[in-house]
């Protein structure tokens, strides 16, 4: 293999490349540095590709060009045109083709070396591992894409109680073919056996998983693709591949864990879903209307990047006795240069002046309390309206629905602000007992839970930013 004799420069370029990957990845973990992190990683990739192109003895330039042009022609428009809401499936697709590339390279390797004749064991093992994982990733990702894109039905599809034994069988089959190859088998059917059984395995594992768990599954497949890339690197003795692949494998695993935790799911439970367990579908209200949930950290980021946040307290803040936490949150935001006001509705709470008493207890300066008439003009200039345990006083039905018991009551026009975050424990109605359409507004997201706990969680996230 001639590329072993490559000049030190190429290897050094590889080192530079993976250093950029790592540095970029570090950046991607913080909101302030994420954009630059992604850029740096992209530069690293360019350097790695350049270094490879420099490798003495490279040929087949036209074919290479063909592939690159093809890939670019497909990749760029796909990435450019996809809607923001369709991002997750796009990531799934990109991940899938990566896995596919790994599997294909492994297959060709097998063919070129006539079944790894004369190659050391670690080369064949690594290549076969790459083939198996790459293939699982390819097909699994495609199913995930199909489900999210609603080409395939989003609900779990499973063959029932046979699921688990079947999956196991496929895995054993693939591994058996691999063992046969390492033991000296050179028949291409063995290789095809690996590819096919792992393809089926990828399909079978992902099909029974519900749409809500898809992001976690995609992340898992992403980590797997990383591992398969690292295996390819071992086989080809290519440092850049090893490092980049392994970093993705490791960080992807951690990330999968974090995502599952943030969604209150466990990875085994999700994958077990693929083995016949229950993969609960994404919860939505009794009606068809869609409710968007958010998390404390998302709320924290959203607010910390806002210029003006208006807090709308209501009876729920009083019940949760969240006033001190709210004040703390406001202080954190103010220290980040965000302007924070409190919109006090005349009948928020359950007694005249209820909000005043509580906010005064928490030492909120009187100047920050805004009366309804004063603040209603401000909402259109507000980036985030944070509704804390208020309900009726924000209900647009008071304006729009003459049949509603609250029709005619003046309300806080929170729905005029750029986005609304509502903190309450459930979808249950407030004092007047009527549903609130605000919660189904596309600009609204809900942070469910006790107001004090939620606000405290937001405070912690703000501090961590």
């Amino acid at each position: 293999m001639s590329w072993l004799q490559d000049p030190v420069t190429i290897q050094c370029l590889y080192i530079v490349a993976f250093a950029l990957f790592i540095y970029g990845l570090m950046g991607l973990t913080g909101p302030r540095t994420a954009v630059r992190g992604n850029m740096l990683a992209a530069v690293g990739m360019a350097i790695a590709i350049l270094a490879t192109a420099l490798t003495p003895g490279m040929g087949n330039w036209w074919l290479i060009l063909l592939g690159v042009v093809l890939g670019t022609a497909i990749g760029i428009p796909a990435a450019r045109k996809v809607k923001m809401t369709a991002m997750p499936q796009m990531v799934a697709l990109f991940n899938g083709v990566g896995g596919g590339a790994v599997a294909l390279v492994a297959w060709v390797e097998f063919r070129q070396t006539h079944g790894f004749a004369g190659e050391p064991a670690h080369v064949s093992i690594a290549t076969l591992f790459a083939a198996l994982i790459g293939s699982v990733s390819f097909w699994g990702s495609n199913v995930a894409f199909g489900k999210l894109q609603e080409i395939l039905p989003g609900r779990p599809i499973s063959v029932g109680r046979l699921q688990q034994p079947l999956n196991l069988l496929l895995l054993v089959l693939g591994v058996a073919c691999g063992v046969a190859v390492v033991a000296g088998g050179t028949s291409e059917w063995l290789m095809i056996g690996i590819l096919v059984s792992s393809a089926l395995l990828g399909l079978m594992v992902v099909l029974p998983i519900g749409g809500a768990d898809m992001p976690v599954v995609i992340s898992l497949l992403n980590a797997l693709t990383g591992l398969s890339a690292a295996a390819t690197g071992i086989a080809l003795d290519n440092t850049a591949l090893i490092v980049a692949g392994m970093i993705v494998g490791a960080s992807g695993t951690i990330l999968t864990n974090l995502m599952a935790k943030a969604m209150n799911r466990s990875i085994p439970a999700i994958v077990a879903g693929g083995f016949g367990g229950t993969g609960g579908p994404s919860s939505s209200g009794p009606t068809d209307k869609i409710v968007r949930q958010t998390s404390a950290s998302d709320a924290a980021i959203q607010m910390s990047y806002a210029r003006q946040v208006v807090v709308v307290p209501g009876y729920g803040m009083a019940v949760a006795q969240a006033q001190h936490a709210v004040r703390e949150m406001a202080k954190e935001l103010e220290s980040k240069g965000v302007a924070v006001y409190y919109a006090i509705h005349p009948v928020a709470g359950r007694m005249p002046g209820h909000m005043n008493v509580l906010l005064a207890e928490a030492d909120v300066p009187y100047e920050h309390l805004k009366e309804m008439d004063e603040i209603n003009g401000e909402f259109s200039r507000t980036d985030v309206a944070l509704v804390i345990g208020a309900n009726d006083v924000t209900n647009p039905a008071a304006h729009t629905d003459p049949g509603s018991p609250i029709y005619g009551m003046p309300i806080l026009n929170v729905n005029e602000s750029k986005s609304v975050i509502v903190l309450k424990r459930s979808m249950s109605p407030g004092f007047a007992g009527v549903d609130n359409d605000l919660y189904y507004d596309p600009r609204t997201s809900m942070l469910f839970g006790d107001a004090k706990k939620s606000v405290s969680a937001v405070v912690e996230e703000l501090r961590a930013l």
Partner: protein
């Protein structure tokens, strides 16, 4: 050779573990997408195998596909990540 690659593998694993500690939820998807773009490095594998003289039409076709796949992964990955991160970019100065 192999053992040094192993050392590299282990170290890279630690780097991966250590780098991701506390990530805000909002960054989960961009981060996934970013790492996804990085494993587009498989493109290198396809380039090397084809560039260093893979023969046979089937093999060449497979490799061209692999290169196309890898390119999609790399190019699409970074672009999509960048778009997702748009919300962190559009930050005007605050008064």
């Amino acid at each position: 050779m192999l053992v040094q690659n192993l050392a590299i593998l282990v170290l890279a694993g630690f780097v991966g573990f250590a780098v991701i500690s506390k990530v805000p939820n909002t960054l989960h998807t961009p981060l996934m997408s970013g790492t996804n773009a990085i494993h587009g490095i498989v493109l290198l594998g396809a380039l090397i195998v084809l560039g260093l003289g893979a023969t046979g039409t089937l093999d060449q076709i497979l490799l061209v596909i692999a290169i196309a796949f890898g390119t999609i992964n790399v190019v699409g990955g970074f672009l999509v990540t960048d778009r997702m991160l748009g919300m962190f970019k559009a930050k005007e100065p605050r008064e």
